[in-house]
């Protein structure tokens, strides 16, 4: 026998079994490509430089770990299915006089062929794909994105190691199977019945419990800052719940359905329920993975889209007027000075102010304890949710902002609370107790949200504000707050962008200081920066979204197709027993439909539950347009579902063709 006999035999074997090996190789290739893309993106230097990029990279690193585990589980399973189909062939070789060590050699060569083909195709595919996506997306979005195409060496090395190991493991498991079996068992290998799945009630119940707790935590979370850690716990719980319910819960549910005789013994349900039970046993972990990754991608995609689309909204919230001037540590003289300077610079630029808003304010932090706000408690070890910022504004300034005359007694306040509602009738701080005369629904000029939540108190006059100023300065000493003055105004609509920026630069250099720290912000000047930041995030979201949709959908597609070959015989029997083609079609449709859409449906439920929380989180990013976010979330889910639907349609058709061949 020639030296290359086994190599040739191995290649022939793959060629002969191309019908099952092609999907396998393609799946391996897609998995490798997906892994490479995730890993290389997490190493992308441009992304690291982008603001917020490091967080995204951390998420991606988590993502590629998930993909790695997913790949291992998935490929090992697919392989075991493949080898089951081929046992007969090995049995034949064995019977024809080939020793097991020769079989092992053939199997090794086969694995090497497949590994080399799919890893190299996957890496090339991953590199080409990432290049193509960068080009396409950069062309689509006409703005500067600070990330570029890179080939990541470490991602390649890791991919080689990871998938080399996975293929080695598949080889080991194959060798074990062949080694243990007798030739006659090998010959019959393809016919060994699969054990009926057992219902694991304990796992189902713990899955329900952890999912329920996770949902409860997510739904009851209040302010974003307080809930962030809690939310993380919720995410973990929901993940555990998802895995438990997909693996154990699905089978338990199907068993319950089967117990209900009048439900179960109906033509369509009969085949669907029993078929699904086996299908879930094989696919549950994969589907749970897909569900969790889908949730992650959908959340990323919808938030980044919302931020990008809502960038104007964000700007308007963050900067209520075209020009925003904030000064800390003010005096009356300073305010007059500032007004004069602004008027002067406006005149120089031939501009006028529109809708100006000005107010004085004192804000400091207190620790909430019922309706009392403490200032003397050491701030260590305090739940962040108790930290509240109290903002005092004199009623005359409030009248100026709203045009509404307010008469307040010495200890009366109007209260506007951001975030959670304020549930008490009065409020005590620094030895003073104010009774809340009325709660306000909004406060013009204050559109930005603080991460901890703020209470705005409209008090009788500036004297009260100053009294509070001295009181808190005594307690906090050098960490005490200063009195602030805020002036904001718009320009008429016809002022050009350049004009605004020129004014802004001029004003910045000519404002009086006099021991006052002041900040001048121009909406126009930061616009580009915002677009670049949110555009970058948007790009990343799209990139991951597209990558992920392609990956998962392809995987499900090939998986269903391979299962089609297994189910062929089953449906042939049913047709012989008197199942019509229509019924076969219907049964296939409902099974494939479930496998396809279950992860998506559960992911959608996850997202709906997370929605209120994410809305609060986005408010911190100054996006408070809930409708916009809802639209983006809905739209993302819809597009995702649409794409899914297309591939599902195709899968069901191919599947039916295989089964009815």
């Amino acid at each position: 026998m020639g030296r290359f006999f086994y190599w040739k035999l191995a290649a022939d074997n793959i060629r002969k079994n191309i019908q099952v090996y092609l999907p396998y190789i393609l799946t391996c290739t897609a998995t490798v490509a997906m892994y490479y893309l995730m890993h290389s993106l997490s190493q992308n230097s441009g992304l690291g430089k982008m603001s917020g990029g490091d967080t995204v990279q951390m998420m991606l690193s988590f993502g590629f770990v998930v993909v790695a585990i997913f790949s291992a589980v998935f490929l090992l399973y697919t392989n075991s299915f493949l080898i089951k189909r081929r046992k007969k062939e090995f049995g034949l070789f064995n019977v024809l006089g080939m020793e097991k060590k020769h079989l092992a050699r053939i199997m090794m060569y086969e694995t090497i062929y497949i590994a080399v083909i799919s890893i190299s195709a996957g890496l090339i595919g991953g590199i080409v794909l990432s290049k193509a996506m960068f080009l396409l997306l950069l062309k689509l979005l006409r703005f500067e994105v600070q990330m570029g195409f890179e080939i990541s060496g470490s991602a390649i090395v890791f991919a080689l190691l990871l998938f080399g190991t996975i293929f080695f493991l598949t080889l080991l498991s194959n060798l074990r199977q062949v080694h243990l079996a007798k030739p006659i068992e090998l010959l019959k290998g393809g016919q060994v019945g699969e054990r009926e799945p057992k219902a694991k009630w304990l796992l189902t119940l713990s899955g329900l419990a952890s999912m329920g707790t996770g949902y409860y935590l997510a739904l009851t979370a209040e302010s974003p800052i307080a809930a962030l850690t809690l939310f993380f716990v919720a995410v973990i719980l929901v993940m555990i719940g998802t895995y438990c319910l997909f693996t154990a819960g699905s089978i338990a549910l199907l068993k319950l359905l089967r117990k209900n005789k009048s439900y179960y013994y109906r033509p369509n349900r009969f085949t669907t329920v029993s078929g699904l039970m086996y299908r879930m046993q094989r696919n549950a972990v994969g589907l749970a993975n897909i569900c969790i990754l889908s949730t992650m991608v959908l959340v990323t995609l919808s938030t980044t889209v919302a931020l990008f689309v809502g960038v104007e909204d964000v700007l308007k919230t963050r900067y209520p007027r075209d020009i925003v001037i904030s000064s800390y540590g003010i005096t009356d003289e300073y305010i007059d000075n500032l007004g004069a300077t602004v008027a002067q610079v406006l005149e120089n630029h031939n501009l006028v102010m529109q809708d100006p808003m000005e107010y004085r304010m004192l804000s400091f932090v207190g620790i909430a304890q019922g309706n009392e706000f403490l200032t003397d408690e050491p701030s260590l070890n305090i739940s962040p949710s108790r930290l509240k910022t109290l903002c005092f504004i004199p009623s005359e300034d409030y009248s100026g902002l709203t045009g509404e005359e307010v008469q307040l007694a010495q200890d009366e306040v109007l209260l506007y609370s951001q975030g959670a509602d304020y549930e008490y009738e009065s409020l005590s701080v620094l030895g003073r107790t104010f009774s809340v005369r009325k709660q306000l629904n909004e406060l013009p000029a204050v559109t930005e949200w603080d991460i901890s939540g703020r209470h705005f108190l409209i008090v009788k006059d500036m004297d009260v504000v100053e009294e509070m100023y001295h009181a808190q300065a005594d307690v906090y000493g050098e960490h005490g707050s200063k009195l602030t003055y805020h002036l904001q105004f718009d320009f008429p609509g016809d002022v050009s962008e350049e004009g605004e920026i020129a004014f802004y630069k001029d004003l910045r250099s000519s404002l009086p200081s006099g021991g006052v720290s002041r900040y001048i912000e121009s909406r126009e000047a930061v616009k580009d920066e915002f677009y670049s930041l949110y555009g970058g995030l948007f790009f990343l979201g799209l990139f991951l979204g597209i990558l992920f949709i392609m990956g998962t959908v392809l995987i499900i597609y090939y998986k269903q197709i391979t299962e089609g070959y297994e189910d062929k015989e089953r449906f042939a029997i049913m047709q012989k027993v008197g199942m019509s083609r229509e019924e076969v079609k219907r049964s296939i449709r409902s099974q494939v439909l479930t496998v396809f859409f279950l992860p998506l449906i559960v992911a959608t439920v996850h997202i709906s539950v997370a929605f209120p929380f994410i809305t609060k989180l986005l408010a911190v990013f100054s996006l408070r347009n809930t409708l916009l976010f809802a639209t983006c979330t809905g739209g993302t889910v819809l597009i995702f579902a649409l794409f899914y639907g297309l591939v599902y349609h195709r899968t069901a058709r191919v599947y039916y063709r295989i089964v009815s061949m």
Binding site: Q575, K576, S580
Partner: protein, 255 residues
Amino acid sequence: MYILEVKNLKKVYTPRFGGNQVQALSSVSFGVEKGEYVAIMGESGSGKTTLLNILAALDTPTAGDVLLNGRNIGSIPQKEIAAFRRDNLGFVFQDFNLLDTFSIRDNIFLPLVLARKPYQEMERRLTPIARKLGIEPILAKYPYEVSGGEKQRTAIARAIITNPQLILADEPTGALDSRATDGLLRLFREINEEGQTILMVTHSTKAASFAQRVLFIKDGEIFHQLYKGDSSEEEMYQKIADTLTMIATGGERRG
């Protein structure tokens, strides 16, 4: 009155990519009376399976008619064919054709479920059949957990639970050991004695010797037939063996 009538059945396979046409059946005519137990014997390639497939409406003839209870199978529209098969025919196959994903009970229920029968009726029908076939203890098990004989008895239960006009059996003993074969053949005879019409295709002399009538098929034609009459299984066995020898050695046709 024939329950099944086959008239001048002809089947020619035309390969899709040209090549020689293969004539599986040249001209087959016979009839099966209600309550009869008929075996069709022939060597591999004689056209047995083609015949059975056509009778089962799984394949269509090139020419000729199959009448079941006077109704031409060929005239049944494609949409109704599955229901027709389900309501009128019961199948027993050599390799059992049980579904691994269903328990023995559910395998037997399958045709009734497809016929949308209520569950109570399924149970009612199953009880006497399971007792008769001795499969009561294994109803909750799965096909891979039971023996070949038990599998075949399950298949029989599935075939008779619909009270079909006709049971079609394709080499039912082909995958069974001799003890299971004996048991199965006795069962077939019992069922037949209760009035069930059976048509069995086989090349086992033993299996055929249990039938009331044996048709011999060769080169796509009915070549000969034997009536059992009052003879015992042993006598019938001898007669069949003689006929087979004659066919194999190319003896004269006699009728």
